[in-house]
């Protein structure tokens, strides 16, 4: 079973500290959700793990292998996938070409492609379409499918349901559940409580770049005041 462990990450934007002693462990077959208000440091945490924001301190392991200090381009090759906020597709390329780039990262085979398309069958009908012309939901699905073509053992999703219609949210939620059931470790950043509660196994609340509290999802479901306390919303 895969496991990603982050210990003591500090990160700075100039002189401003964006991440303080950030430590998490996420295992295959579970969904760990990072929640917090805007500016809490959730996205920075994911970028620090990916190496695009260089952490000033801390260590990173995947399946017992230390990845600390590797260049950003090397992290995905080791098996950590990332779906950034706002999808970030190569909009001039077709759906098929976007997926092809994902397959190239680790020289993944047709199986990875079929697995990704099995999760998002709507993409099969859009293979020759330019990705910039897809709907918002389809773009998110493509962004996830492309990350899955890398064949990751850990998948990090940054607000994948942001701005989507309920039907698209349901498709993405189903895909996340399927991935978890297939043994992928999921680190999910989400603001929408209704999107988190049905699928998360554990929740970590962040504020000012720190993890302030951690709960099993059952604790959060049974005590909704926690949501109000840490993210300022009710369920």
């Amino acid at each position: 079973m895969s496991e990603m462990r982050v210990e003591g990450y500090d990160a700075f934007y100039g002189r401003s500290q964006a991440l303080r002693d950030f430590s998490i462990t996420v295992k295959g077959g579970e969904v760990l959700c990072l929640m917090g208000r805007n500016g809490a440091g959730k996205t920075t945490a994911l970028k620090a793990i990916m190496g695009t924001v260089r952490p000033a301190a801390g260590r990173l392991w995947l399946d017992g292998e230390e990845l600390t200090g590797l260049p950003a381009s090397e992290i995905p090759r080791r098996g950590i996938g990332y779906v950034p906020q706002g999808r970030r597709l190569f909009s001039e390329l077709t759906v098929a070409e976007n997926l092809e780039i994902g397959l190239m990262t680790r020289h993944s085979g047709q199986e990875s492609l079929e697995y990704a398309l099995g999760l998002f069958p709507v993409l099969r009908e859009r293979m020759k379409q330019r990705s910039g012309t897809l709907s918002g939901g389809e773009q998110t699905m493509l962004s996830m499918a492309r990350a899955l073509c890398v064949n990751p053992s850990v998948l990090m999703l940054d607000e994948p349901t942001e701005g989507l219609m309920p039907s698209a949210i349901a498709s993405i939620r189903e895909a996340v559940v399927k991935l978890r059931d297939d043994g992928v470790a999921i680190l999910l950043v989400e603001q929408r409580v209704d999107a988190v509660l049905p699928i998360a196994d554990r929740v970590a609340f962040m504020n000012h770049g720190e993890i302030k509290a951690r709960f099993d999802i059952e604790e959060v479901r049974s005590d909704k005041s926690l949501l109000h306390q840490y993210v300022g919303v009710g369920a």
Partner: protein
């Protein structure tokens, strides 16, 4: 997953066949003009690889054209090497220069990259003037007539013959077109476009974007240098004007007019610009003003060039 672009391949084949046939119907002066267009379009195709596909706007590509031109021309002029060997030396020279300049220039981005490439090119241009005793400077050097022919499969290919020049230019154009088709329509081309579209995202998918850009830069510079070597050997003249800023701008304009990021755009852009200058200069001495206005119009209403606009509106495979 292998992707093919059969329609574009067919269009490329038809284009080459039509170009070959044109020599039998065009008057000699237009065949000569077409020879020049073919060579300059190779230059523009090289430029397009960097600017159109990878999104890196260089203002110094004359440097690579001149590297090929001088490496090939000087080796023939001083050492008397045969034209095929000189041509290969020109390509190798352009490769070496583009690799070294790329290693340095790609440490910068956006406007800084433009300035750095421009500065390197200006330094190269000034060097051609500084070492006039070797390069001939502004006056240039004319290759001796007896050095402008070579043997090939028992035949003598004479570079003073219009027919030989046209067919050799078409051959090199076809080879470059085939190489660029393979690159742009394959995995490497996808990565070039990915860097152009979103470099940080490309990195987060596990690719070393510096290495991708360096590859694009080197391929681009080498092809531009190939055009330079061909030009110098074919017309028997090497001069510092080819290393000047205007030559860099012309490659940019050919690409912009034809369609950046389209395989055949540079050929179309070079043909349109060359013929336009040719026709307008016979009508008015202010032809550059007319061309300037036309360029502004094209860039305002067709910012993706002729083929780029057609691709976006009707033919998505035209890339």
């Amino acid at each position: 997953m292998t992707l093919h672009n059969g329609k574009l391949l067919a269009l490329c084949v038809v284009t080459v066949i039509v170009l070959f046939g044109l020599q039998f119907v065009l008057p000699p002066y237009l065949t000569l003009a077409l020879t020049r267009i073919l060579i300059l379009s190779v230059f523009a195709m090289g430029y397009n690889m960097l600017m159109g596909y990878t999104g890196l706007l260089s203002l110094g590509h004359a440097m690579f054209f001149a590297a090929g031109l001088y490496a090939a021309g000087l080796s023939t002029y001083y050492w008397g090497v045969t034209l095929p060997v000189a041509f290969v030396l020109g390509i190798v020279g352009a490769f070496a220069v583009s690799l070294v300049i790329g290693l340095l220039a790609l440490r910068t981005q956006a406007v800084s990259f433009m300035i750095v490439t421009l500065m390197f090119a200006q330094a190269g241009y000034l060097m051609t003037l500084q070492f006039t005793n070797i390069t001939g400077g502004d006056q240039g050097l004319t290759l001796p007539t007896d050095a402008r022919s070579f043997g090939l499969f028992g035949m003598v290919v004479d570079m003073t013959s219009d027919t030989a020049r046209f067919n050799l230019a078409l051959l090199i154009f076809t080879v470059v077109l085939a190489v660029l088709f393979a690159i742009t329509q394959g995995p490497l081309g996808r990565l070039f476009v990915a860097v152009r579209e979103n470099e940080p995202r490309t990195q987060m998918l596990g690719f070393d974007t510096y290495a991708i850009k360096l590859t694009a830069f080197t391929v681009s510079g080498t092809i531009s240098g190939t055009a330079g070597a061909l030009y110098g050997l074919m017309f028997g003249y090497i001069g510092s004007s080819f290393a000047g800023f205007q030559n860099s701008i012309e490659a940019l304009l050919y690409t912009l007019i034809g369609g950046p990021g389209t395989l055949l755009g540079p050929l179309l852009g070079t043909a349109v610009m060359t013929m336009l200058i040719d026709r307008l200069s016979g009508i008015t001495t202010a032809y550059l003003i007319v061309i300037g206005v036309l360029l502004i119009v094209v860039n305002l209403w067709f910012p993706k060039g002729i083929l780029g606009t057609i691709r976006d509106r009707w033919l998505g495979w035209l890339k």
